[in-house]
Amino acid sequence: MHEEIIFAGFGGQGVMFVGQLLAYTALAEEKHVTWIPSYGPEMRGGTANCTVVVSDEPIGSPVCKHPSVAVIFNNPSLEKYEAMVTPGGLLVVNSSMMVHPPTRTDLEVVMLPATATASEIGDVRVSNMIMLGAMLIHRALVDRATVEHVLIEKLGTRKAHLQAINLTAFERGITLGQTQQASV
Amino acid sequence: MTAVEALVEEQIVYQRPESLLEVPTHYCPGCTHGIAHRIVAEVLDELGVRERTIGVSPVGCSVLAYKYFNMDGAEAAHGRAPAMATGIKRVMPDHVVFTYQGDGDLAAIGIGEIIHTATRGENITTIFINNAIYGMTGGQMAPTTLPGQRTTSSVTGRDVETTGFPIRMAEMLAGMTGSAYVVRRSLHNVKEINRAKQAVRVAFQAQLAGLGFSMVELLSSCPTNWGMSAPEAMKWIEDNMVPYYPLGDYKVADAVQPLLKRK
């Protein structure tokens, strides 16, 4: 297993946090992992993004030109990253924020209304957990129970009041991921 | 004891302070660096702190001060003595740390370091020698050169229209909240030298009491680069420097006040 995942969206969508959560979870499962904020060619321009590499082997480059997975939170990020995903890769898209749907036909594409669903649950900021839940259905990089465990640990006592809503969002993401059959 | 023995019995009235080494200095005749060194050394002797004092020398005429003081010393880069002294003091808080700096070192290239050291209330003492000229490099205009004063880089006299005005450091540093004791004295006659020594003592006592930054600015002579005899230089300080740089106490923090009363 070796996946290079880009999480991309606006600042405030919890993009960096959800990437770090995946990294912490991978570490908890004793996998090799790197997390970097937006660096590398063609990876700039007003949006928040991070790259997570998860692997069974020691990781060489933490940067990549063609990620195997892109988790896209907004339309500008779709425009930027859709073309970069490696053929056969996975594109998880927050359909609530899209102007145009993705056009690639050589990718697994999962569309889900993450922002709308997060609002329904009660906090627009938990769209990141919905996106992560859906992604893990299509790329089982880590165990969902570990994600939940690590999430609770990372929120700690100071943010314990955010546990329930984040876990609910994660569950909804999993459900949405299961019902949203990937179109290839 | 015979009458003759009684007559020749030694009574020491003047000697080299232990804090000064028995070496000739390189200073010019009539230069007041020697006096400034001596009063610092006498004060350190009297306070009994020589063995726990670390001096930081500047770049300028007193660049070799560490060769004259009988104590641990470092030689800083130009203007950086207060930063270096800060580093020393923070890891050796029980030691007495002082910088000895000239006007080019402190008021030009090192003005940032001295201001921030003062504003941090760094618990060190600075002896500031203001002789209104760059001595070591041969008499160029200093930030403290007086209006109209001729130097090798203000050949027709300092023109404030193009070179700005002399900086009054004591007044400036007195404005820093972290300063505990900031005064200006002069070395041009015995009375002023005695007053200068008292101020140096208070400055070190303030440091020993942990009260914050202390500085004694000393109006000093440079007969060589001023092109004067030693007596003329002393008179020049009195007639020209003192009016521009008034002597006095510019900052005496409340906590320092009791030190002034103690003799």
Partner: protein, 355 residues
Amino acid sequence: MAVELLKGNEAIAEAAIRAGLEAYFGYPITPQTEILEHMARRMPDLGRAFIQAESEVASINMVYGAACTGARAMTSSSSPGISLMQEGFSYIACSEVPCVVVDVMRGGPGLGNIDPSQADYFQVTRSAGHGDFHAIVLAPASVQEAIDLMVEAFDLAEKYRTLVFVVADGLLGQMMEPAQLPPMKPVHKNRPDWALTGAVNREPNIITSLELNAPALEEVNLRLQAKLAEIRKHEQRWAELWTDDAKLVVVGYGMSGRIAQTAVKQARREGMKVGLLRPISLWPFPEKRLSTLADQVDAFLVIEMNAGQMVDDVRLSAGGQVPVSFYGRMGGVVPVPEEIYHEITTLYEKLTSGE
């Protein structure tokens, strides 16, 4: 100690603290500010010295002062700040005071940008200040290696009474990956005999870089050069992979070496006899190993995030025996494995088509 997910900059700071750092002085500059912030949080709690100085010039001179007392002292900065510190480096080198400096390099010249770069190679290995001197320069390629080298940096600084740079690029500084911190060492209270500790029952100690007598200053220089020769002899460090039968060896340090590793691995999978040499000490440069490899390989390919700086050292080490090619990105652009792989295959085809 458990394996934790650590950010490069924070790991560097914490490793220094655990190595017994007694005083930190610094000034904020991206992309290394997390080091300063970590120190601000931790050092006062531990009763150790921390100052956010008014400039990099002041920072390095505070380090110089603290180090004169024999305390473990350091600063950290990024490229423009390192330029400002050069005055202090030169004084520190001449007066032989152990100090550690971290440079998290960013894009330049000038104000440049805050993206990753390796363009300070010449500066730290060749020209860290006026006069004849070199500092030891260590270049980690992972968060774990950054931790290990920080600890080692203090030991080397004290062993040789020298300035030691740990150089990373902004990418390593900002990257998070699993790593293990060392156990906490207390600050050492035993001061070396040269240190400024107060002249109690001994002659005064003087720390100075001034020597007005030319023959005497030449003596100082000869002593410094003899020390540097010792360092050059004993402290060359590097890592290598798949070099045994390599026809082409890719040379890169820090993150470029690590990114190149992915490309070299790919080339190996394709059956190309390509190896990787990653210098860990940039000064002293691992010239002995490079020189030996030059007898074996057909070519070197140097990868850097600059216009070609370390490539000079590779050419000197290769001594004209084999061609040395270069591929670099500048201005904060990080090369990706695909680009390096392309360079490898192009060069490798040329090498093998000649057979």
